[in-house]
């Protein structure tokens, strides 16, 4: 199979990135580093997944927390039930959240406009209520999860989960990049620009929207699946936290929604700042940081950091010729 030069570069970059992440697990002994960076990686997945539907197709998901939580609780249920290994949990979590995306989409994406967004808010509330009332999943008081021992090649289970999240992040970004650069992405952008015109240009709008909703949901589920094993604990208020929903949309908006790198930049920036603020100031203030940055960007730079960079490039004055003596 012929591989495009851009894809080749991306794949090499991804392998180098994963190699560095693995090297880090060997070299760094402070577990907190993995604990903090895991969150950043997790946000890369969430932001990238959100952008596939929200950025490319223009359908805003306010319920990212629900998709994340379905992944997390699918993982927990399987772990409790059959001691399923984490990889199985990730695949199952992605499948369940993908199906949830498809279902919410099938119900609400036939209509244009805000109905999908409203449905995603509703689904988050419904699912949280379901979990709170399901004793098997720990109900409102949550469920402690005993992490297995360190797998081969890793010092601890946390290191392993950290590396796993890096792999999921690479897969998520790869999917987003593929969608964006292929005919699928062009169709999604046509839908965002003008759905009626897209349909009349032969774009099967409903099918494409459902595809995007399913893929986006699946990736969010994959991000959530290892959560309980990462934290050794799960409870509904933290997984259904509004913070996930807000961050998942704030990061692409701040980074830039037009290119797959935008959500990655947004997630790395915001994720890191949040972690730093949590450690140095307070864990309450980090939510404020997201809010303030979101407002600032929406007002001052609606195309995000990518838009700012493009603007600066255009404005850069041409190189001055040296005046003759």
């Amino acid at each position: 199979m012929k591989v495009e030069p851009g894809t080749k570069r991306f794949l090499i970059g991804a392998i180098v990135f994963l190699a560095l992440v693995y090297a880090m697990t060997r070299a760094v002994s402070n577990e907190y580093v993995f604990f903090a960076l895991y969150v950043v990686l997790q946000f890369i997945v969430l932001a990238t997944a959100w952008n596939i539907l929200g950025g490319y197709a223009g359908y805003v998901n306010f319920g990212s927390g629900a998709f994340f939580a379905v992944g997390a609780y699918t993982g927990v249920a399987l772990f409790k039930w059959v001691d399923a290994p984490v990889l199985v949990q990730v695949v199952a979590g992605a499948t369940m959240s993908g199906l949830l995306g498809l279902a919410v989409g099938a119900l609400s994406l036939r209509l244009r406009g805000i109905f999908f967004s409203i449905a995603t808010v509703a689904i988050a509330i419904i699912l949280e209520t379901v979990v709170v009332n399901t004793p098997y999943l720990g109900g409102a008081k949550g469920l402690p999860i005993l992490r297995p021992g360190a797998p081969p090649l890793f010092h601890s289970y946390l290191e392993f989960v950290f590396f796993l999240m890096a792999v999921i992040a690479v897969v998520a970004v790869f999917c987003a990049r593929y969608v964006e650069t292929s005919w699928i992405g062009r169709g999604l952008r046509a839908i965002r620009d003008n759905e009626g015109a897209a349909e009349c240009s032969g774009v099967p709008t409903l099918k494409l929207k459902l595809f995007a909703a399913t893929l986006s949901g699946a990736l969010m589920g994959a991000a959530g699946a290892p959560f309980a094993l990462y934290l050794s604990f799960i409870e509904p208020t933290s997984v259904f936290n509004l913070n996930y929903a807000v961050s998942a949309l704030a990061m692409p908006i701040i980074g830039g929604m037009s290119h797959w790198i935008g959500p990655v930049i947004g997630a790395v920036l915001l994720g890191t700042v949040q972690q730093l603020v949590t450690v140095t100031i307070s864990s309450e203030l980090n939510v404020l940081v997201v809010g303030v940055l979101l407002v600032v960007f929406v007002v001052a730079a609606p195309d995000g950091i990518l838009g700012l960079v493009a603007k600066l490039r255009r404005r850069r004055p041409p190189v001055r010729q040296e005046a003759p003596a």
């Binding site: 005919w183 062009r186 169709g187 952008r189 046509a190 965002r192 620009d193 003008n194 009626g196 015109a197 897209a198 349909e199 009349c200 240009s201 032969g202 774009v203 099967p204 709008t205 409903l206 037009s258």
Partner: protein, 242 residues
């Protein structure tokens, strides 16, 4: 009539209690230049929305090349060969002019054979035919009004239609620009494309059309040659303001 490309058969459309179309029947022949006129709100755009699939008709049937397409979604009708331009231009504004054309080329013409298709080359060719080649890489939200109209037609053409519906492609253009768009439509028709033109600019419709139909309040009040239509008393009363 065996050479009918499109048959609209007793089509009705209601919006709540309002009847936008009532028992409209018309046949469009292959290769024909067909004009659709009528006062604002008479149902012209509703009719072509029913033909192109933006709305489903409530009663009657829409038959394209012998096949009832009344229940097909719009994108499938485009794939069968019905393309349209929009009254108010609807460019894909985040894309360049060229990319606007690549959408139908990818989703209609070269579906399933994308890796072998030269969609950019084909798109350029269409743009050259429309006189838009020098704007190919321009962002489509930077275009002038006449360029937007041409882009509407170019994008419709990129779907390689057999039937092109031009919805007021000339509204708001200057005299010279109207002639320019008319020339393009004549050229397309010569290449074998059947064209339905909705237009308020009477001299353009009359010059262009071989047959004209006038709608008023969702009913056909006249159908015939341009000369017959203009002479018709109902048309004069309802539309021409005599």
């Amino acid at each position: 009539m065996s050479d009918a490309l499109l048959r609209v058969d007793g089509v009705s459309k209601h919006f709540g209690g309002f009847t936008a179309l009532s028992q409209v029947s018309v046949q469009i022949r292959r290769g024909e230049r067909f004009g659709l006129i009528g006062p604002n709100g008479s149902g012209k755009t509703t009719l072509i929305n029913c033909v192109s699939g933006a709305f489903f008709n409530d009663g009657g049937a829409i038959v394209f090349e012998g096949r009832d397409i009344s229940r097909l979604p719009a994108y499938q009708r485009t794939r069968l060969g019905i393309a349209r331009s929009f009254q108010i231009p609807r460019p894909f504004s985040s894309m360049s002019v060229l990319e606007n054309l690549i959408v139908p080329l990818e989703y209609v013409v070269h579906r399933g054979s994308l890796h072998t298709a030269d969609t950019r080359g084909e798109a350029m060719e269409i743009l050259r035919g429309m006189g838009l080649a020098d704007k190919a890489l321009t962002q489509s939200n930077q275009l002038s009004q006449v360029e937007l109209r041409k882009l509407e037609l170019a994008r419709a053409m990129a779907a390689r239609p057999r039937l092109l519906i031009s919805d007021e492609a000339m509204a708001g253009l200057s005299g010279a620009e109207v002639d320019e768009v008319l020339d393009i439509l004549f050229k397309l028709n010569e290449s074998g494309i059947t064209i339905i033109m909705i237009e308020h600019i009477m001299h353009a419709v009359m010059r262009f059309s071989q047959r004209v139909m006038c709608l008023d309040a969702g009913r056909i009040i006249c159908e015939g040659t341009p000369a017959e239509t203009v002479a018709n008393a109902d048309v004069q009363r309802a539309y021409l303001g005599h």
